[in-house]
């Protein structure tokens, strides 16, 4: 699908709305992850407002593209994106992690239509996505299958079992996106368990690898388009992102991986968000 300048502006606007809702929901929840969801907002906006073939009124639509979130802990960004796309009212986001809510702390497929899988325990999304891509190929179905993973998640052995298998089976309708934000709970990925060269690892396992700036909507959508033109190999898009993106005060800080802002912090963060991370004078924020 051609991408116009207007499209880019529209998607970027959605990404900002997704971020604002993330802050609202985390404050209301009083627990949850901040850095990852903010860092993945541009990618989720790109998926839900441009890339995916989907219908919010028919989450089980047979012809939909499949988007699997493997690192379930960043689900606030998915909930926010789904709400803004029309799957459910944005106000419902404020029920995140609360008793009786469809928006569980980690996503549960059976509670909320449109989630595709139940996730949280790391390393399992790629396997499920690969099997779906394989089954679709058996049935001659053309749906695209996307899976989003974290970079810390790459420590899991299950990931590499699936990487090996998807490479062996040459699953070309499968596109994996790795949120390369370089942080995990205990610190920087390269200190906790070095991943580099991530690109060379995936290539060695029979994948085609693309690297992009995960905050550049045009570049990211371009990479997904390029992935479609790669035959006989699954594609891995390493999306370099800034954890906490949009709130300069917490950007790059791994301590924000697993905690929510307080109401006071959120007010400050919201101001930073609305000022375009300082690009817009504060009186407009």
């Amino acid at each position: 699908m051609a991408l116009t300048d207007e499209d880019v502006l529209r998607i970027e606007g959605k990404a900002e709305a997704i971020r604002e809702t993330i802050l609202d929901m985390l404050v209301a929840a009083g627990s949850g992850h901040t850095a990852g969801p903010l860092g993945m907002s541009d990618i989720f906006a790109s998926f839900y407002f441009h890339i995916l073939k989907h219908d919010p009124t028919k989450p089980d639509w047979e012809e939909r593209d499949i988007l699997i979130l493997s690192n379930g802990h960043i689900v606030p960004v998915r909930y926010s994106a789904m709400a803004h796309a029309g799957y459910f009212p944005v106000e419902e986001c404020l029920t995140l992690r609360k008793f009786g809510s469809r928006l569980q702390g980690h996503p549960e497929r059976l509670r909320l239509p449109g989630l595709e899988t139940t996730s949280g325990p790391l390393g399992e999304g790629l396997s499920q996505a690969a099997a779906i891509a394989y089954a679709f190929r058996m049935d001659g179905k053309k749906n695209n299958v996307y899976v989003l993973m974290g970079d810390g998640e790459q420590d899991e052995g299950n990931v590499w079992e699936a990487v090996m298998w998807a490479g062996k089976e040459k699953l070309n309708s499968l596109t994996a996106v790795i949120d390369r934000n370089n942080i995990q709970i205990d610190g920087m990925t390269e200190d906790i368990m070095p991943l580099e060269s991530l690109r060379a690892k995936y290539e060695a396992f029979g994948w085609h690898v693309l690297e992009v700036n995960g905050h550049d909507v045009r570049a990211f959508i371009g990479a997904v388009e390029e992935a479609k033109s790669i035959f006989e190999k699954p594609v891995c898009i390493i999306a370099h992102t800034i954890p906490g993106k949009g709130v300069p005060e917490i950007e790059f800080d791994y301590k924000w991986h697993g905690k929510p802002p307080t109401a006071e912090e959120a007010k400050r963060f919201m101001q930073q968000l609305r000022s375009g991370a300082g690009r817009v004078p504060n009186e407009y924020a």
Partner: protein
């Protein structure tokens, strides 16, 4: 006396009784299910000969999926295949699946309610010479604890075939346990198999009072039957319940047996903690408390040996079961 409604093998107490491993039932059952439903797929983790998955591969090469020695991936792949409308059987040794991939089964299959059929081969000490690492004795416990999971432990190859064919029609996740060694095929194609139902193999002579209920699962039900026959010859009447369905458990049949006999012995090739005996004891302690004795492995791992040596050592052969029953009955 033998329950005529069970339609058991005509060679039941003869040396001529057919002997086959229950895993053969997996091979036959998957081929049968595959013929009925073209969405059936079989995944195997580098053990296609010993799991009998190659019987399916031979018939349906395009629907056989080799995943290599990667049981965690196999379980989550199973969830993915089910998500795409396939009916996946995942096959490996029980020590690895569900032993190694428990969490993948928990999250992507049980919690996610994907109808994956987890097939654990080479369960129990009767694996024999391979030793403790490969003698899975905790699988029924692990699987029984999971909400949404059905747990089946067929008694012979014929019943195993029935469980495998049934599983393809079920809309939820299933665990089926299989053994490696040759065991008597005591059931027939006519023997009823209903998930959630016990099968009475042996009942007391009319007008007599049974003293003990032998409640068994898997191939040891045949040993329980032999024990009951030998006890009857000594004047000790008993009931034998074969329970291939560990979850759901036939609580009604259990309570009925407890009421009739007043004492129950459970028999399984599994740890007595958490497995079948625990399930029976849990049920009876809540619904109809009677003395229960559990036979199985008592907080110990297995070891190398022949299946017969090991079953005898751990007290799971017919003579050992009869000996336990005698003491139990006398002690009352």
């Amino acid at each position: 006396m033998i329950n005529p409604h069970a339609k058991l093998s005509s060679n039941l107490f003869s040396a001529e009784i057919e002997k086959k491993p229950t895993r053969d039932g997996f091979g036959l059952g998957t081929v049968e299910a595959g013929k009925k439903d073209q969405n059936v797929v079989v995944l195997c983790a580098d053990l296609k000969e010993s799991t009998r998955a190659e019987w399916f591969e031979k018939e349906f090469p395009d629907r056989f999926i080799e995943v290599g020695v990667a049981e965690q991936n196999m379980a989550a792949l199973g969830a993915g295949f089910a998500a795409a409308g396939k009916v996946p059987y995942i096959a490996s040794y029980a020590a690895f699946s569900p032993g190694r991939n428990y969490e993948q089964i928990r999250t992507t299959i049980a919690l996610n309610e994907r109808p994956v059929i987890v097939c654990g081969m080479h369960a129990g000490v009767s694996v024999g010479p391979d030793g403790a690492t490969h003698q899975m004795l905790e699988d029924m416990g692990l699987m029984r604890m999971l909400p949404n999971m059905t747990v089946l432990n067929p008694g012979d190859a014929e019943e195993a075939r029935k469980t495998v064919v049934w599983a393809a029609t079920h809309t939820g996740p299933v665990y089926i346990r299989f053994g490696r060694s040759n065991v008597p095929t005591f059931t027939t194609p006519e023997t009823p198999f209903v998930v959630g139902k016990a099968l009475t193999l042996w009942s007391a002579q009319e007008g007599t009072q049974p003293k003990v209920a032998l409640v068994a699962t898997g191939s040891l039900s045949y040993e329980a039957l032999l024990a009951a026959r030998s006890l009857a010859s000594e004047g000790i009447e008993s009931i034998v319940l074969h329970m291939p369905s560990v979850k759901p458990l036939d609580e009604e049949a259990l309570m009925d047996a407890a009421k009739k006999c007043g004492r129950v012995i459970t028999i399984e090739e599994h740890q007595i903690a958490g497995g079948f005996g625990s399930a029976v004891a849990e049920c009876l302690s809540e619904c109809y408390p009677v003395p229960v004795m559990r036979l199985g492995l008592r907080d110990t791992f297995g070891q190398s040996g022949t299946p017969d040596e090991l079953l005898e050592y751990y007290g799971l052969t017919a003579p050992k079961i009869a000996e336990t029953a005698r003491k139990f009955v006398k002690g009352a």
